[in-house]
C-alpha cells in the first residue's frame, strides 16, 4: 500500500468511519455495550445519575479502527501470561470506550494520540499501527513505552532518552498504560491476578501469625485483651 493510499485508509478508518459504520457495525457494537451495562444496572442509582448513564451509553466514541488499535496496545501492555489473561480477555477496550465518554478529558489525548501513533507508523512502515506486523508494533512501542523519570533527588532513573519528536507519543502511551492497567485490575481476571482477597463477609482476627513473624511484629497484651477476637478455642 502506498503512503497516499494508506492515509486515505486511515481517514476512512477514523474520521469518516464514524459515519460509515453508523449503519452497520455500530448497531452491533451498541448492542454489545448495552448488554454489558445491563449487568451493572443492579447498582442503586438516583434519578439524575441514571439519566446520565443512559446518555453516556447511547453514544459511541471510538471508531472500529481506533478500538482495534486500543485492543492491540492493551494486549501488548497486559498480555496473557502464566498467571492470568490479557487486557482484551478482561474487556479492557470496552471499559476504555465507556470511560472516555464518562470522562471527556480523556477524549482528545486518546483520539489524538491514536492518530499520532498511526502517523508515525505510516511514515516508518507505510501502514497504520493496526496493520503493522507484531515486530513493527513492538519496535514503535519501544520508542514510546519508557518515559524519562527522575527520583525525588533529581537522579535520573531512566536508562534511555526519548527520540526527538516522540515526547507526545510517550505521554500517550503512559495514558494508555494507565487506563489499561486500571481497567484490567478492576476486572474479575485482574483482581484475582493482583491478589485482592477481600470484599466478602469474614471475621477480622488481625494479621496472620506467620506474617507477624515475618516482620518481627506482635500484638501487645493490651491489644490482645482489648480487641475483638475470633480465636477458636
Amino acid at each position: 500500500m502506498d503512503r497516499r493510499k494508506s492515509i486515505k485508509t486511515l481517514l476512512i478508518g477514523t474520521v469518516s468511519a464514524g459515519v460509515l459504520v453508523e449503519a452497520c457495525t455500530t448497531e452491533d457494537k451498541k448492542k454489545v455495550l448495552a448488554n454489558d451495562n445491563a449487568k451493572i444496572s443492579g447498582l442503586n442509582r438516583m434519578k439524575e445519575e441514571a439519566e446520565h448513564e443512559k446518555e453516556v451509553n447511547s453514544k459511541t466514541f471510538f471508531t472500529d479502527h481506533e478500538l482495534a488499535t486500543i485492543t492491540l496496545l492493551g494486549d501488548i501492555i497486559i498480555p496473557k501470561d502464566e498467571v492470568s489473561g490479557s487486557a482484551s480477555d478482561a474487556k479492557v477496550p470496552e471499559f476504555i470506550e465507556f470511560i472516555v465518554k464518562d470522562m471527556p478529558q480523556h477524549q482528545t489525548p486518546m483520539r489524538g494520540g491514536l492518530r499520532w501513533l498511526d502517523m508515525q507508523c505510516l511514515t516508518r512502515f507505510d501502514k497504520t499501527f493496526k496493520d503493522c506486523s507484531h515486530e513493527q508494533q513492538i519496535e514503535i512501542v519501544n520508542d514510546i513505552a519508557y518515559p524519562v523519570i527522575k527520583d525525588k533527588n533529581g537522579k535520573l532513573l531512566s536508562k534511555r532518552t526519548i527520540k526527538p519528536g516522540y515526547e507526545q507519543g510517550v505521554s500517550f502511551f503512559s495514558l494508555v498504560r494507565n487506563l489499561t492497567a486500571t481497567g484490567f485490575y478492576t476486572s474479575a481476571i485482574g483482581m484475582k491476578d493482583v491478589g485482592y482477597m477481600g470484599n466478602t463477609p469474614n471475621q477480622w482476627n488481625g494479621v496472620p501469625e506467620d506474617v507477624l513473624k515475618q516482620y518481627g511484629l506482635a500484638y501487645t497484651e493490651k491489644e490482645l485483651k482489648e480487641c475483638i477476637s475470633f480465636d477458636k478455642k
Partner: protein, 579 residues
C-alpha cells in the same frame, strides 16, 4: 409552569424538622419515640441502606469501576447522593479562599457515607477562649453533654478503648478490631518518636447492640452504607426506627424554602417545594427544628425575613452565617519498601482505620493555638478506578524481585511490577481545629437564586496563620512518622509555603459548623444553650450550625449528643406547654 398554588397541609404537628441527617434524624427519633407527632422534611429521595447500598459490589459492576462523578464525588459505590455541586443549586464565593460546600440530598444525609469517626469533645474543647483567648467559650461544658455522649455510645454503638486521656474522654466502647499490618508499622514508628497511636473510635458494631442491627462482617465498605445496619447512619438507626413508631410523617424530595412565622414572631411552620410535582406546600407545627446542615440552616434563617424578623429569623444578633468553619486538613502518603511483594490475605477490616493519633501536644509550646488528630490508611484495598495508575514513577525506582527495571514498560514484566507493589502504600491525614472567626461567613447572594427561586449562599472564608502553621506542623509530623517507619514519601511531600503546606480549601473536610452558634448573650449568638433561638422560642437548630467551635474532633458524635439534649428539652417543654 402551568397550575401553581400553595397547598397547605391541614395537620398541625408538634414539630416540623428540616433535614434527616445526624441532627434531624436524632430529633425525629427522640420526639417520635416520646409520642409527639413529627413531620420530617428531606430535600432528597428515600434511602434505606438495607436495599439501596452498593455494599459487596465488585469493581466491574460499575461501568466506571468505582470512579467518581458529580453525582457521587467519593466514587460510584459511595453511599451519598450529590456532593460538591448539585444541578440547579449553585452557590457562590466572594473573595477569600474558595469555600467548598458538600451537600447530600437523601434520607440520612451524609451520614450514609461518613467515616464513622466518633470522637467526643473533651472538657477543653468547650472552653477554648479561657485557654488561649481566641474565639469564644461554649455556654455549656463537657459535663452538660457527657450524659448524652454516654447515651448515644450505648444506643448507637462505637468501638474504642478507654485510655484515660484528659481531652479525649473515655466512653462506653465496643471492642476495637486489631490493627492491620501497616497500622502496626505506623504504631511502632510513631510511638518510637513520642507520637501516641491508639485504637480508633468508630461507630461500627463489632458486637451487636440490638435486634434491628447486625454485627460487622469486615468488608471495609462503611462508605457505601451498611445493608445490615452494622454502622451508624441516621437513615438506618434513627429515621427508619422513628417511622416505625407511627408518629413520624416523612416527606422526601421536599426542599425547604423558608420558616413561616406569625405576627408575634413565633415559628408556625415551613414552606417547601415538592421536587416531584414542583408544587409549593406549607406544613405547620408547634415547633420548627432546623437540621439542614450548618450552611443550609443559616440560609433558611436568612431567607426567612418578616416584619418581626427583618434581618432574617433568629438573627437580631446579626451572627447567622458568621463564624463558619471547617476542620483543617493536610495529607501525605508513601510506600513501604519492606512491604513489597507481601503475602496475600484478606485485610479489609472495618470501613476505616483501626488506629489513630489523638492530639498529643501542648499548644502553649507551639506557634499555633489549636490541635489536630491523625487518621491513617493503607494496605490491600479493593482495586478501583485509578488503581495502579502511574507505575512508571515506581518501577524504575526499586529493584523488583532482584531486577533493576526501566520506568514504564509493558508486557509480562509489567504485570509482575503491579503485583510487586500491591499493598505497600500508606497514607496519613491531619484533621485539626480552625479558629472560628466572625469574618468567615456565608450570606445571601443578592444576585442569584437556585432553580426553585430560593436565594443562594455566597461564601467568604479565609484561613489565618493559625491554620497554616498547623498544616506545616502536620506535614513535618507526617514526614517524621514516614521516615521512622522506613517509608518513602510518594505524594504530599512537595507542599510548602507556596500552597499553605497543602492545607485543604475550607469546607473540603466536610465538617461545616458555627453559622447559627449558641451562647448566653443574645447579642452575640443566635441560640441559647438548649439550641433554641433567642429571638423565637419555638425554633431550634440541632445541626453543626449551633457549634461555637469544633475541637480537633470530627463533629458528628457531638451533633448527635447535642441534638438528643435539645430534643429531650423540647419534649419536656412541649409537655409543659412552654413552647
Amino acid at each position: 409552569m402551568g397550575e401553581f398554588q400553595i397547598k397547605k397541609q391541614p395537620r398541625q404537628y408538634d414539630a416540623v424538622i428540616i433535614g434527616s441527617g445526624a441532627g434531624g434524624g436524632m430529633a425525629a427519633y427522640v420526639l417520635a419515640t416520646a409520642g409527639l407527632k413529627v413531620c420530617l422534611l428531606e430535600a432528597g429521595p428515600m434511602y434505606d441502606p438495607a436495599t439501596d447500598s452498593c455494599q459487596l459490589k465488585n469493581p466491574w459492576e460499575s461501568p466506571r469501576r468505582g470512579a467518581s462523578t458529580k453525582y457521587r464525588p467519593f466514587g460510584d459505590f459511595d453511599g451519598c447522593y450529590w456532593g460538591w455541586e448539585i444541578d440547579g443549586e449553585p452557590y457562590t464565593n466572594n473573595g477569600g479562599q474558595k469555600w467548598e460546600w458538600w451537600r447530600a440530598r437523601m434520607l440520612g444525609g451524609r451520614t450514609n457515607h461518613w467515616g464513622r469517626i466518633s470522637l467526643r469533645f473533651g472538657p477543653k474543647d468547650f472552653k477554648r477562649k479561657s485557654i488561649d483567648g481566641l474565639g469564644d467559650d461554649w455556654p455549656i461544658s463537657y459535663d452538660d453533654v457527657k450524659p448524652y455522649y454516654d447515651k448515644i455510645d450505648k444506643m448507637l454503638g462505637v468501638f474504642g478503648t478507654n485510655e484515660g486521656l484528659e481531652n479525649d474522654p473515655d466512653g462506653f466502647f465496643l471492642p476495637p478490631p486489631r490493627p492491620r499490618l501497616h497500622e502496626l508499622f505506623i504504631k511502632k514508628a510513631a510511638t518510637g518518636i513520642g507520637i501516641p497511636v491508639i485504637p480508633s473510635r468508630l461507630s461500627i458494631l463489632t458486637k451487636q447492640v440490638n435486634k434491628e442491627r447486625g454485627q460487622c462482617f469486615y468488608c471495609a465498605q462503611c462508605g457505601r452504607s451498611c445493608k445490615i445496619y452494622a454502622d451508624f447512619s441516621a437513615s438506618s438507626c434513627l429515621v427508619i426506627p422513628a417511622i416505625k413508631t407511627g408518629n413520624l410523617d416523612l416527606v422526601t424530595n421536599a426542599m425547604a424554602r423558608e420558616v413561616l412565622t406569625n405576627k408575634e414572631g413565633l415559628a408556625t411552620g415551613v414552606s417547601y417545594i415538592n421536587k416531584d410535582d414542583m408544587q409549593e406546600y406549607q406544613v405547620t407545627g408547634r415547633t420548627v427544628i432546623l437540621a439542614a446542615s450548618a450552611c443550609e440552616s443559616a440560609r433558611l434563617l436568612l431567607n426567612s425575613r418578616s416584619q418581626r424578623h427583618p434581618n432574617g429569623l433568629a438573627n437580631s444578633s446579626n451572627v447567622v452565617g458568621k463564624y463558619l468553619h471547617d476542620s483543617t486538613g493536610a495529607d501525605m502518603g508513601g510506600i513501604i519498601p519492606e512491604l513489597f511483594d507481601r503475602k496475600r490475605y484478606n485485610e479489609d477490616g472495618v470501613g476505616g482505620m483501626h488506629v489513630y493519633t489523638p492530639w498529643w501536644l501542648d499548644n502553649k509550646k507551639l506557634d499555633f493555638p489549636r490541635g489536630y488528630h491523625i487518621e491513617y490508611g493503607g494496605g490491600f484495598g479493593m482495586p478501583l478506578y485509578g488503581f495502579n495508575w502511574g507505575i512508571e514513577k515506581l518501577n524504575g525506582a526499586y529493584k523488583i524481585k532482584g531486577k533493576e527495571k526501566e520506568p514504564g514498560g509493558y508486557g509480562a514484566s509489567l504485570k509482575e511490577d503491579y503485583r510487586f507493589f500491591f499493598g505497600s502504600h500508606v497514607g496519613m491525614a491531619g484533621r485539626g481545629e480552625a479558629v472560628a472567626r466572625e469574618d468567615n461567613y456565608c450570606e445571601i447572594d443578592p444576585e442569584m437564586v437556585d432553580k426553585f427561586g430560593i436565594p443562594v449562599l455566597r461564601f467568604h472564608t479565609q484561613y489565618s496563620d493559625y491554620e497554616i502553621k498547623q498544616a506545616k506542623h502536620m506535614k513535618e509530623t507526617f514526614a517524621e512518622i514516614l521516615h521512622a517507619m522506613g517509608a518513602v514519601i510518594t505524594w504530599g511531600g512537595d507542599d510548602g509555603p507556596q500552597n499553605n503546606y497543602g492545607l485543604h480549601a475550607p469546607g473540603n473536610i466536610i465538617h461545616e459548623a458555627g453559622t447559627v452558634r449558641m451562647g448566653d448573650d443574645p447579642k452575640k449568638s443566635a441560640l441559647n444553650k438548649w439550641s433554641q433561638a433567642h429571638d423565637c422560642k419555638n425554633l431550634f437548630c440541632v445541626d453543626g450550625g449551633q457549634f461555637v467551635s469544633q475541637g480537633d474532633k470530627n463533629i458528628t458524635w457531638s451533633i448527635l449528643a447535642l441534638s438528643m439534649r435539645a430534643s429531650e428539652h423540647i419534649v419536656e417543654e412541649l409537655k409543659k406547654n412552654n413552647l
